[in-house]
Each structure stands twice: as structure tokens, then as C-alpha cells.
């Protein structure tokens, strides 16, 4: 307890918690509506699924390391890639990003909690149930194939492969229902974000003074409403087809397989922006702090983020260039996809300008952020290659695409997530993560990542399609696949090191204090970990970096904004 400007704050959180019976702690977490606890549950839940989906990836990589391999059967392999993709997108990516947002957004806007705490808890638990349901399919469904019954239709579940005749049993329905529930949770959480950001900001925090992380979560949440809903609608239609005999995607009755593709990708493309915008959010907070400079071009960053959100709604059919939509449609989607590279580039340039002239500190969060910058640049450039429709007619549905999107998902998003972990772990737990272990984690994971995903582009260029459980010898794909698989193993080691670091630092890490990084946003003014009520007195802010103003009263940001 200490005082500043005559305000006293007494935090009895620890006193209440010490020495309670485990059951009571469990009960508290299950019934909590506190955004910090819910955020942590989202993150923990996502980490578990990250390990599970990672194992699924390792199994696939063992199978694909050499041609004509027999490590797993085709049925099992097809389930593996379906489950890997579905798990990673819906039960790792979404929850972990919602988790960080849940934890940070109220703290960063000086609020006590989210706008609808009970909705927050409900959204978490229903998403969690969705994940459980997806994995229950391994034991619960009865498929045509004897080797287990998880869904095997691919994470985008094209019709009519998902029709009852081509996918008998219930494995597809587990896919549908699990994602449906997760979608309800996502919409609930997104609603919470928007309501919180619009209605719960502390005094003085005009929209133009919000941290960029908050802006990006606002855009992300808005995207969720218009992106997840089409998927929900399409899944209702699919289930009606499978159980009530409707004909939405029944090509025998005049239905259209292409309609499913449109609906899915109207969801699917904004979805990947929903996944990447929070990574941008983290970059916007971390890079300035470790460059010791304010973010360059705040208004441009806001405009670029909002622009990306809008444009992402118009590019979906670049996933359908080979469907035969016609030259006019293809040309439009080429244009829209290329246009989105402009605001994306603006963001990269602004990050570069933030670093320029700064005093860069290469702590672990910054190292992951730097890798993010290079890797996101490359991912964006391979994206431009794919946006050129004729080039996509060759590259589409090949391992080049797999390499591209993993470059974004792992190289950009996961790397920034690691940065976020190292950066905010001290705030969440009150202890620093080990820098030594962090650097081992970084280099191992970096090497593994590049071994896998750089070399993965090559089989694509040499004609290797995706979602094949094995491949012919003599296509010159084998050597590259072996390198890719080795890289996966290296990444796994790096990831395990990270998990160890998380656990070990909780008990043995250096005590952090409330502002170990000398940062500038409101969450660093609270104790580490913050008390249940966040702020003893509702803060009042006068600029985008309230703590900079406090630390530099002679040269506050408010003079320049």
C-alpha cells in the first residue's frame, strides 16, 4: 500500500486468497465474472489446445516426411488435418486473443470490468463446451470408417462432401455444432468488447486517446459480428440439409456447392483478419515501449486498422479463383485483395518509423516483435503473389498456400502472442519470466519456424497439393518435406521450453513490481497482479500515454496531441 497525490489504496486480495481450500478456489474460478480471471481461463484453455493441435501437426509431419509413408492411415490423416485446422482457428486462435483482450482492455481504458460480466463468463463457458464437443467426436461419433470418428472434411468443410451421403455418421455434425457454440461465444465476447470500449472508458479517454490495442480490439469485435454470423447461418443450413432433408447444398436437387464456398469464405477471410488484428494490437503496444518512442502516426494507424477491417469484407472470393467465377468476378477480387495491402503496408512502415531514431532494447518481447515484423512482411508479400489470380491458379490449394497462411498464423500471430506473453506476464502474475529461457525459446522457435515454413513453399511450387495423406516418390517433394518435418520437431522443443518458462517463472521469477518495462499505458499503474477492482480511483487521462505524462511532467504528450 502506498500513496500518491493523497490517494490511498488498500489491496486485500492476497490476504483473502492465502490458505484457502482448493475446492473453494476452483469454485471461485468456475463462477467468476471477473474479466481478468475469465481472460486467464481463455488463455489457459487455448494453450492446452495449442499443445493438442501441435501434436496433431507433428503426427502429420511424421507421415509426410517421406513419400508413400504408412505411419497413419488415410482416414486418420484426414481427421488430423481437419482437427488441427479447426482446433487452431476456433479453440486456440480465437480464445487466446479474446483472453488477452479480456484481461487488458478494461485495464487499459481505466474501467473496473467489462460491460457485461455475466455475458463474459457465459461466452467463455459456451466456447469451452464447443471445444470439448469437438474432441468428444473421437469417442462419440460413429463414422463409416473404423479408425475413429472425428470430423474429416477439412476445416472448411466444402459441400457436398459434408452431405449425409458423402459423410455418413455424426462426425461432421460434431464439427458443425462445436463451431456453432464457439461462434455464439465469439459474438457474445465481441459484443462485450464493443460495449466496454464505447461505454466504459475512464474520464478524459476520448476515442482519440485510447491505446491502439483498444482500437484494434474494437475493429476486431466489429468484424466478428459480420463475419461469424454468415458461418453460423451456413452451419444452420448444413444441419438442416443433413437432418431435415433440405437442399441448400444438395447438388442433386439443384443446390449449389459454390454457395457454401461463398458463405464460408465470407466468414473465412474476415476471420483471418480477426486473428491477425490482435497481433497488430500487441505490436502497437510493445514496439514503442522497447524503442522508447511513441508510436509513429497514431491517426494513420487507426485509419489503416479500420480500413483493413472494411476491405477484408470484400476480398473473400480470392479463395475461389479456381472455381470458375468468370473473368469479371476474378478481376474484382484481385483488385480488392491487392488494395488491402496498402493499409497493411502503412502499418508496417509506421512500425519501422517508430523504431527509427529510437533506443531499441532487445528484451525477449522485442525480439519476438522484430521477428514478427520480418515475417509478417514476407507473409504479406506471398499474399500478394497469391492475389494475382493466374498465379493463384497454380499456387492455390497447394503447399504454397499452406506455407503462406502458416507464415501469418505462426510467424506473425504466434510470434506476437509470445511477445505479449513475455510482456504482460509480469503484470498478470507479479513475476518476470526468465530472459535466458526466453532467448533459448526465441532462437529455437525461430530456427524451427523457418526450417518448416520457408521450405514449405517449395513443394507447393513443385506441384504438391494440400490435404494429401501421402505423395508419390519421383516428384522431388520428399527432401523438402523432410526438412519441414524436422523444423516442426524443433518448434515443438521451443514451445515446451516456453511452457516450462511459464510455469517455472510463476514460482521462481523475479518479483516484477507494477511497471517493470517503464511503459506508458494505464495497466502499468496498477499493482502486479492487479486487485480485483483494478483501480482504487477511476483514473482521469489527458493524453494517449498517461504514464508518460506522469513521468515527464515537463514534456507531457498532451502538449503535442
Amino acid at each position: 500500500m502506498s500513496t500518491t497525490y493523497g490517494v490511498e489504496a488498500i489491496d486485500e486480495t492476497l490476504a483473502i486468497h492465502a490458505g484457502r481450500p482448493p475446492l473453494s478456489v476452483v469454485y471461485e474460478w468456475i463462477t467468476t465474472v471477473d474479466h481478468k480471471k475469465i481472460g486467464l481461463m481463455y488463455i489457459g484453455y487455448a494453450l492446452i489446445f495449442l499443445l493438442v493441435a501441435g501434436v496433431e501437426a507433428l503426427l502429420m509431419r511424421i507421415q509426410l516426411a517421406v513419400p508413400n509413408n504408412h505411419f497413419v492411415s488415410p482416414q486418420v490423416f484426414n481427421q488430423l488435418f481437419t482437427m488441427h485446422g479447426t482446433t487452431m482457428v476456433f479453440f486456440v486462435g480465437m480464445p487466446i486473443l479474446f483472453g488477452f483482450g479480456n484481461y487488458l482492455v478494461p485495464l487499459m481504458i481505466g474501467a473496473r470490468d467489462m460491460a457485461f460480466p455475466r455475458l463474459n463468463a457465459f461466452s467463455f463457458w459456451i466456447s469451452a463446451f464447443g471445444g470439448f464437443l469437438l474432441y468428444f467426436s473421437y469417442v462419440g461419433a460413429s463414422g463409416l470408417y473404423a479408425a475413429g470418428s472425428a470430423p474429416d472434411v477439412g476445416w472448411f468443410a466444402y459441400a457436398p462432401l459434408t452431405a449425409k451421403i458423402f459423410s455418413p455418421g455424426h462426425s461432421t455434425d460434431y464439427w458443425t455444432l462445436a463451431i456453432f457454440l464457439s461462434g455464439i461465444g465469439s459474438i457474445g465476447t465481441a459484443l462485450n468488447f464493443v460495449a466496454t470500449i464505447v461505454s466504459m472508458r475512464c474520464k478524459g479517454m476520448k476515442m482519440s486517446r485510447m491505446p491502439l490495442l483498444v482500437w484494434l480490439y474494437l475493429v476486431t469485435a466489429s468484424l466478428v459480428f459480420v463475419a461469424v454470423s454468415p458461418l453460423t447461418a451456413a452451419q444452420i443450413m448444413l444441419t438442416l440439409d443433413r437432418y431435415l432433408g433440405s437442399h441448400f447444398f444438395d447438388t442433386q436437387a439443384g443446390g449449389s456447392a459454390v454457395l457454401w464456398m461463398h458463405f464460408f469464405w465470407i466468414f473465412g477471410h474476415p476471420e483471418v483478419y480477426i486473428l491477425v488484428l490482435p497481433a497488430f494490437a500487441f505490436a502497437n503496444e510493445i514496439i514503442p515501449v522497447f524503442s522508447r518512442k511513441a508510436i509513429f502516426g497514431y491517426p494513420a494507424m487507426v485509419a489503416a486498422s479500420v480500413g483493413i477491417g472494411f476491405i477484408s469484407l470484400s476480398v473473400w472470393a480470392h479463395h475461389m479463383f479456381t472455381v470458375g467465377l468468370g473473368a469479371t468476378a476474378n478481376t474484382f477480387f484481385v483488385f480488392a485483395t491487392m488494395v488491402i495491402s496498402v493499409p497493411t503496408g502503412i502499418k508496417i512502415f509506421n512500425w519501422l518509423a517508430t523504431i527509427w531514431g529510437g533506443k531499441i532494447i532487445f528484451a525477449t518481447p522485442m525480439m519476438f516483435s522484430v521477428a514478427f515484423l520480418f515475417q509478417f512482411l514476407i507473409a504479406g508479400l506471398t499474399g500478394i503473389m497469391l492475389s494475382v489470380a493466374p498465379f493463384d491458379w497454380q499456387l492455390g490449394n497447394s503447399y504454397f498456400v499452406v506455407a503462406h497462411f502458416h507464415y501469418v498464423l505462426v510467424g506473425a500471430i504466434l510470434f506476437m502472442l509470445f511477445a505479449a506473453f513475455y510482456y504482460w506476464y509480469p503484470k498478470i502474475t507479479g513475476r518476470m519470466m526468465s530472459e535466458t529461457l526466453g532467448k533459448w525459446h526465441f532462437w529455437l522457435f525461430l530456427i524451427g519456424f523457418h526450417l518448416t515454413f520457408d521450405f514449405m513453399h517449395v513443394p507447393g511450387l513443385l506441384g504438391m497439393p494440400r490435404r494429401i495423406y501421402t505423395y508419390e516418390a519421383g516428384r522431388e517433394w520428399g527432401g523438402w518435406n523432410m526438412i519441414v518435418s524436422i523444423g516442426a520437431a524443433v518448434q515443438a522443443i521451443g514451445l515446451l521450453l516456453f511452457v516450462y518458462n511459464l510455469v517455472h517463472s510463476y514460482f521462481k521469477g523475479k518479483v516484477a513490481g507494477h511497471d517493470p518495462w517503464d511503459a506508458w499505458t494505464l495497466e502499468w499503474s496498477t499493482p502486479s497482479p492487479p486487485p480485483a477492482y483494478n483501480f482504487a480511483v477511476e483514473p482521469t487521462v489527458n493524453s494517449r500515454r498517461p504514464l508518460w505524462d506522469l513521468k515527464h511532467p515537463d514534456d507531457p504528450d498532451s502538449d503535442y496531441e
Partner: protein, 359 residues
């Protein structure tokens, strides 16, 4: 703060020099391996053998050049900034100048990318129109392609030929082009026809007709495979395109036009096999032209022995393989839709003998 985990300081810096040499050696061998792989792969999209693949390759060179240039400039600046502006011990306690933005700079790095986008877009639009919007010549050869789980049906409507899994087409001379037009649909789920050296891929969608054209300029065998996940054996739905000289193609056509051989008086084993075949469920899935077998669920077997492979390119067409396939297809291509016929050994031998005579 150090980039690397803290460790004991070593005496001299030779370690870095060796590392640099090792790195250069590794890069060179990698380039060599890459070059070999690209040269030898039969499905290398950068080794075009037909006009669509050529125009894509040409476009891709421009795209790769532009993206490489952007990468070198931006990554170069980034690398420079990271080295030049890293914090040094003497910086402790002072903050650098806080620069909040600059409208001119923002404008410049908005306008320049827009110009690059416009250039790329116009170039791309031209290739799209050049491939997708050109009219079909009157005398073009037509093949109807129907995708099945997990094999390809090829029908030549003007020639009255039906075959499966191995597509024979004439080569196309640039001076007098004779492209082959593929009219494509699917009997079940979505598939995709991809032969990288000839053209980009186009999807086969049920209840929808898509078209594409190919014009291999040199005779030879062009490989590809299905490129849209279509079920268990998607990986083994292989494509074999035989581009033949006009003479060879004409010979193939005349052979394929003939109905199936039915006179096996000189070959009692095959005769017995024909009887077994016609009295089993084979005929409900397969067609053998001129006989009672008129099924269309499975591949046309009229001239099955003239093909190099069975099971859509997955298995070599030898008598032993054929026998094993008929006995238990699932053991060779797990999940394929042909059921085992549960024939006894004698019948198996007979049917194999029969089918190997269907040239």
C-alpha cells in the same frame, strides 16, 4: 540488452568467422539442391510446357521481381534501423526524441504502394482476360472430364471414345495450334484438375460446368493430381496426360474406338474370365463397350489393358497388381469406393486374364 542468452565469454572471435563460412557453404549447397529439384520435378510450375502455364510463368516472374524488390528495401531498412538505433549502455536514463508522425511521410508511403498495386492489377487483369475470356476455336478438340471419388472419367464426344484416368491428347504446334478444351463437372463432390506444367488448376463442381484448355507443345507424359480435397483417397486421384504426335494420337483413337474384344476362342482363361465378369456385379459399375456391362459408377474398362496404370495412376497396371486390386481394392487404396468382389482364386485368375486382354 544482449540478443543471445548469457553464456561464458570465449577468448577469441574465430567462432563467428567459421560460422559465416559454414553459412555460406550451407546456402550454396541448398541452392544446388534446389536447382536440381526444380529441374527434375515432373510437376514444376516453373517449367511450363503449354501456353496457359507459360503466360502464368511470365506473369509470375514480374510478381516475384516486384515482391523481392519490396522485401529487400523494407527488410533492409528494418535491419538497418535495428542495428543503428539499438540502445547502448550510455543511453541509460534518457529517452530519444519523441516523434509522433508526419503527414508527408504517411502520404508518400500510401501513394507509392497504390501505384504499385495499380500496375500489378492491370498486368494481372490482362492475363486473366487472355486466359479466361478468349473464344473457343471451331475445330478445337473437346474432352469432357467428369470427376469421381477417386478417378477421372474422360469422354471424347466427337470421337465417340470413353476412357478413364489417362488423358490422351494431341500436341499443339504453336504455328497451327490444336488446343484441347476440357469441359468439366463432377459426379459427386468437388475435385480440381491440376497439371502444373500445362496450366493452372480448375475445379470440377457437381451441378456446374467449368472449362479450361491445354496445349502441350512437346510429346510426353505430364503428371498432376486432384487439387481439391474430395475424401479419403484424394491423395491418390492422380492425373496422367499423354501428349502425342498427330500420328500416335490417331493410332490411339482408332484403337480406342473399337468395341471390346469378345472373341477369346484362342484363350480359354480369358474366355472363362469374361463369363465370370459378365455374371458378377462388375457389370453394374463398369462399362465394357459392346457387352452387357454398362455400369457408369466405375471406370470404363473397354481398353483397360492399354493403360499404364490402374486406380487412377496409383498402381502400375501389371497382371499381379490387377489381380490383387480385384481381390481387395481396399488393401491397395484404403477407402476407395470399389468393394472387394470376394471371388475365389480360380475366378480371380480368370477375370485377370480376361481384363489383361482388353487392349
Amino acid at each position: 540488452m544482449s540478443l543471445f542468452p548469457r553464456r561464458q565469454k570465449t577468448g577469441c572471435n574465430r567462432g563467428w568467422l567459421d560460422f559465416g563460412r559454414a553459412l555460406r557453404a550451407a546456402l550454396c549447397s541448398l541452392l544446388f539442391v534446389a536447382a536440381t529439384a526444380f529441374a527434375q520435378s515432373p510437376t514444376n510450375m516453373f517449367d511450363p510446357a503449354g501456353t496457359p502455364a507459360h503466360s502464368i510463368f511470365d506473369l509470375s516472374k514480374l510478381v516475384l521481381a516486384v515482391t523481392l524488390a519490396i522485401f529487400l528495401i523494407v527488410a533492409g531498412l528494418l535491419l538497418y534501423a535495428l542495428i543503428r538505433f539499438r540502445s547502448r549502455p550510455e543511453d541509460a536514463g534518457s529517452e530519444p526524441a519523441q516523434i509522433y508522425g508526419s503527414n508527408q511521410i504517411e502520404l508518400s508511403w500510401t501513394v507509392i504502394p497504390i501505384l504499385i498495386v495499380v500496375m500489378l492489377f492491370l498486368t494481372t487483369a490482362r492475363v486473366i482476360l487472355g486466359t479466361q475470356a478468349i473464344p473457343k476455336p471451331e475445330d478445337a478438340m473437346n474432352v469432357t472430364v467428369i470427376g469421381h471419388q477417386f478417378w477421372w472419367e474422360y469422354r471424347y464426344p466427337k470421337l465417340g471414345i470413353v476412357t478413364a484416368n489417362e488423358l490422351h491428347i494431341p500436341v499443339s504446334d504453336l504455328a497451327h495450334p490444336t488446343p484441347t478444351y476440357l469441359t468439366m463437372s463432377s459426379a459427386d463432390v468437388v475435385h480440381s484438375f491440376w497439371v502444373p506444367r500445362l496450366a493452372g488448376k480448375t475445379d470440377l463442381i457437381p451441378n456446374r460446368v467449368n472449362t479450361m484448355w491445354i496445349d502441350p507443345q512437346k510429346p510426353g507424359l505430364y503428371l498432376g493430381q486432384c487439387a481439391q480435397y474430395c475424401g479419403v483417397q484424394h491423395a491418390k486421384m492422380l492425373i496422367r496426360v499423354y501428349a502425342q504426335t498427330p500420328a500416335d494420337f490417331a493410332a490411339w483413337v482408332s484403337q480406342q474406338k473399337k468395341p471390346a474384344r469378345q472373341d477369346f476362342s484362342s484363350d480359354p482363361a480369358a474366355a472363362e474370365g469374361q463369363t465370370v465378369f459378365m455374371h458378377n456385379a462388375c457389370i453394374s459399375c463398369h462399362t465394357v463397350a459392346g457387352t452387357a456391362a454398362t455400369g457408369r459408377f466405375g471406370p470404363d474398362l473397354t481398353h483397360v489393358a492399354s493403360r499404364d496404370t490402374i486406380a487412377s495412376g496409383a498402381i502400375d497396371n501389371t497382371p499381379q497388381n490387377l489381380r490383387k486390386w480385384i481381390d481387395d481394392p481396399d488393401s491397395m487404396k484404403p477407402g476407395c469406393l470399389m468393394p472387394s468382389m470376394h471371388l475365389n482364386n480360380r475366378d480371380l485368375d480368370a477375370v485377370t486374364a480376361y481384363l489383361t486382354q482388353l487392349r
